[in-house]
Amino acid sequence: MSAIQFENVRKTYPNGKTVIDQLNLEIRDSSFTVLVGPSGCGKTTALRMIAGLEDVSEGMIRIGAANVTKLEPGDRDVAMVFQNYAIYPHMTVKRNIEFGLKNQGLSKADIVRRLDHVISQVGLEQYANAMPSMLSGGQRQRIALARAISKQTSVFLMDEPLSNLDAKLRNQMRSELIQLHKNLQSTFVFVTHDQVEAMTMGTDIVIFNEGRVMQTGTPKEVYNNPDNVFVATFIGDPGMNIVSLRMTCQLGFRPQRARFTMPERFQGVVLPGEIMTCETLGMDSLYHVRTTMGTILVKSEEEREFGDNVSVYVAEQDMFFFDMHEQRIRDAGRILQLTQSILLKEGVYVAREHSGEAAAR
């Protein structure tokens, strides 16, 4: 059992700044949990507290059944991959991995067995006796990975390990890490600011903002069912469009779900507007559209030119409503009321095309 639990954890730095306040979080055993959020949101601090590299000001952290709050990093049964790899520059690849194993007091035969295994696992056989300075960024990343794997810990921590790699290598490492997690079946905690990484790699996602957890769930859950405006705009590529309604409520919809032509059996909002900019992404394009409700993004396969006058169709089932505290409104009656109130807004109309009429046309 190696679930990780934060119980009322607070972190205040010596300069008096509280970066995490009242953190309650459970990271499931054997999950690939991604902590994601903008920089300075406390995700790295949370990770470093699991590792024991940061003191916990208040509260308790458990790994499995054990309270590790006061344990030394080496005694917590965790391994970590650092953002800048933190490889010992004066040791060969082999010695880098060996160092931790020797300190664990393993027998020579055990060390050799593990070394051979992890070095071949990350594909560094040729470089076992090379100095890290002779290796590329990707290879150094693999040393750090091998060093962590070799310890055979039940928890595996990674602090933005892919951010120093180029785009192609990053994609490759992504799938390798997913594969690694499947093989090892240990608990992975992965910190990133990149929501694409979070969505593609995680089995669970924890979204942080300003030291608080905004939402936890599977990638699908947080994408399809955001709890608040922050999650709605942070997750997704690009995030949700948010437009203010009267009564300080907000309407959100995904740029991918907006259409330039009326779909069949359409029931929803139509926003007239003008194309401001157009970014070609290959299969589809990202349009900035100026409407009476502000500039919105539309990601669509339909071709439109700069300056075109368009109507943006947003179906009722694709609309999300948020209250004045930016929390999601889930009450059905309230949603209906809000949908109708949009009608009152100038230049916007609600189309209600019933299935019968559509069929008659």
């Binding site: 590792a51 024991g52 590299l53 030394e72 990093p73 080496g74 005694d75 965790v78 391994a79 970590m80 650092f82 800048n84 933190a86 490889i87 010992y88 520059p89 004066h90 160092f99 931790g100 300190n103 664990q104 060093r147």
Partner: protein, 317 residues
């Protein structure tokens, strides 16, 4: 130089202006002269020749001559000067003193610097204060330092003897005794050099990134294992720099001997450079002094070579 595009080609064929044409900014003749590599290194070569090479060659020449400074008489002496150095009983004593002095000041200087550097590594108000206090001897002149230490080491009234007595040790004569005079100047030298070395060590320690230590913590590396397997290896370029500079500094120590003991009593604290000074400027045997200088140059060269051979492979850059 040959890889440079010739100036003519830079004045391109189409007649349009090109960027950065040296030929436009300087007269063509001067430009041609400046393309000669020997012209470019000439200033450095001239300076080194006048202030280093010429004096060395001059010293070598004088070392083969009898040169009476008072009468101005000069005559060829062959190897007589060298022979007289090897025949002089003082020379062996001075060499021995210098080797002992250099070995201990360098070793203990480095060890203390490392210890203090590690203790003062963290930057807090107190450590910053202690750092500047420890650094002070380095900027104080040797004359003031010597006067202070002569008080401290005074056999009758000195505080060092007072402290020794307090803990039940025998008081020492320090600079007055042939047994302890060399030790006295070693203490003062180490004390004076410590601030500078410690500062360099601290700078070296601060250049080791903190995540290396964090990785070591996760690798279950204890305090000593981290010191000997992580910190010191990563500090090796700094330590090597200090080793080379402090070795050369120790061998050419002059002021501490001159000011504190004058080489005495009975030559017990005399070092090579001070001895050369005595021969040349007190006994006016310029030829012999130059011969000693030449031998000293060879010795220092040899010791530096040894340092490089033994330690440079262990240095991780």
């Amino acid at each position: 130089m040959q890889e440079n595009i010739p100036a003519k080609q830079l004045h391109d064929k189409k007649g349009g202006p090109t960027l950065m044409k040296p030929g436009r900014m300087l007269p063509r003749a001067l430009n041609k002269v400046l393309q000669n590599p020997y012209v470019l290194i000439a200033p450095a070569v001239i300076l080194v020749s006048i202030f280093s090479l010429y004096p060395i060659l001059f010293a070598v020449k004088v070392s083969f001559m009898n040169w009476d400074v008072v009468t101005g008489e000069q005559s060829f002496a062959g190897f007589n000067n060298y022979r007289s150095i090897f025949a002089d009983p003082d020379s062996m004593q001075v060499l021995k003193n210098t080797l002992i002095y250099a070995f201990f000041t360098v070793c203990f200087g480095l060890i203390f610097a490392l210890m203090i550097g590690i203790l003062l590594q963290k930057s807090t108000f107190l450590t910053n204060l202690v750092q500047s206090v420890i650094f002070t001897p380095h900027i104080v002149s040797f004359v003031s330092v010597t006067i202070m230490w002569m008080w401290l080491l005074d056999p009758q009234m000195g505080i060092v003897n007072y402290v020794l007595k307090m803990f039940g040790f025998e008081p020492q004569l320090w600079m007055m005794s042939p047994k302890t005079s060399l030790l006295s100047i070693m203490i003062v030298s180490i004390w004076k050099g410590l601030g500078f070395s410690a500062m360099i060590v601290i700078a070296g320690l601060q250049s080791i990134p903190s995540y290396i230590y964090e990785a070591a913590k996760l690798d279950r590396s204890g305090r000593w294992s981290t010191l000997f397997r992580i910190t010191i290896p990563l500090l090796s370029p700094t330590l090597f720099f200090l080793l080379i500079t402090s070795t050369i500094g120790a061998f050419s120590s002059f002021d501490v001997v001159n000011l504190m003991t004058g080489g005495g009593p009975q030559g017990s604290s005399n070092l090579i450079v001070h001895w050369i000074y005595q021969i040349g400027f007190l006994k006016f045997q310029l030829g012999k002094a130059m011969a000693a200088s030449v031998l000293f140059l060879i010795l220092i060269g040899f010791i530096s070579l040894l340092n490089f051979m033994f330690f440079s492979k262990k240095v991780h850059y």
